[in-house]
Symmetry: C2
Subunit: 204 residues, 2 copies
């Protein structure tokens, strides 16, 4: 029996575009999707759980993981370090499970190089004004932090062409449906099936 290799779905977005909500909700809809917990040096936000939302580590611990080559990608975002543990990711894909990664643009492009058949999805807010409003409503960031996130969002948005799909998050329900459609559609792609079943000449 040929075992299907899992597909890696990577979701990136400027902060405030709604990526975290989308990724949390899609896990409730698609139970067969594996999810990678990122490692980060940033402090937990209120309500965030260590080991579920992130694995919170010190900078020294992070550098140790890097030194042992245990990260599939890593990036510096707003002076904090973020990374994806390589081993659980590779294990899930090998076991035939599709994996959803919620990571920034630097990390996404590193993963594209390492996994050329990964599916890259970029989520944007409908406008910069809307993005600013959402960042303010979050009330967890200082004015300086908000300004820094907006500046970075302006830069990141330029990278949309490096992705496979663009979701404009006007409405959470609509954006969720689009994300779910992308995952279902990719599972039907001939290029992906032909890769998994090289000997299959007649599917029925």
């Amino acid at each position: 029996m040929i075992r299907r290799r899992g597909t890696l779905f990577v979701v990136s977005a400027p902060s405030g575009a709604g990526k975290t909500t989308l990724c949390r909700e899609i896990r409730l809809r698609l139970h067969d999707l594996a999810y990678s917990v990122s490692v980060t040096t940033r402090p937990p936000r209120p309500g965030e759980i260590d080991g579920t939302d992130f694995r919170f580590v010190s900078e020294a611990q992070f550098r140790e993981l890097l030194g042992r080559n245990e990260l599939a990608e890593w990036a510096t975002v707003h002076a904090n370090l973020y990374g994806t543990p390589a081993e659980p990711l590779e294990a899930a894909l090998k076991a035939g499970r599709d994996v959803l990664l919620d990571i920034d643009t630097q990390g996404a492009l590193q993963l594209r190089a390492r996994y050329p058949d990964a599916v890259l999805i970029f989520v944007v807010a409908p406008s910069m004004g809307e993005l600013e409003q959402r960042l303010r409503e979050r009330r967890s960031d200082s004015e300086r932090e908000i300004a820094r996130r907006l500046e970075r969002a302006r830069e990141e948005v330029m990278l949309w062409r490096r992705y496979d799909y663009l979701i404009v998050n006007r409405d959470v329900k609509e954006a969720m449906d689009q994300l779910e459609s992308i995952i279902h559609a990719e599972r039907c792609r001939v290029a992906r099936l032909a890769l998994t079943f090289p000997d299959l000449e007649v599917p029925n």
Copy 2:
């Protein structure tokens, strides 16, 4: 204002795979989808309406359309002629409407050459035994006709790799969801959006 050009979705399947039902149902779900009515020389089946299911014409009329270069693709299937009128198809795409075409493999591959950005979807029954049973349940074909359709299905199925997506029609509801997902996902594809908005650097 840049007007988005419509996307051409082409659905093919060996007879009995459930293509006609899928295409009829998807029109009920996605009202914005334009549908092309094919021209054919085959006689109407019970319940089929001229101008809705097909435009039923004589062989002489069909040859006249061909002679005037009025067909975007055409094919001979089971000794009958089938074709897609070019003008309404082109008009719908220009107006920014996505179009769904329900045509055989010969026609689909002609359309791929004419419209390289078309999305080709192949529908198969879960097995040849299942396909035979469905053809028998239809009760509209003679034994000789069923044998001919099965023989042709065996040939057509080999072409699945020339398509973009493969739907294995085990269950109509599941197959419908997959077809709908493919259409929604393609509307989010960066390659398609970048083609429509060549000047767009920042989407938000």
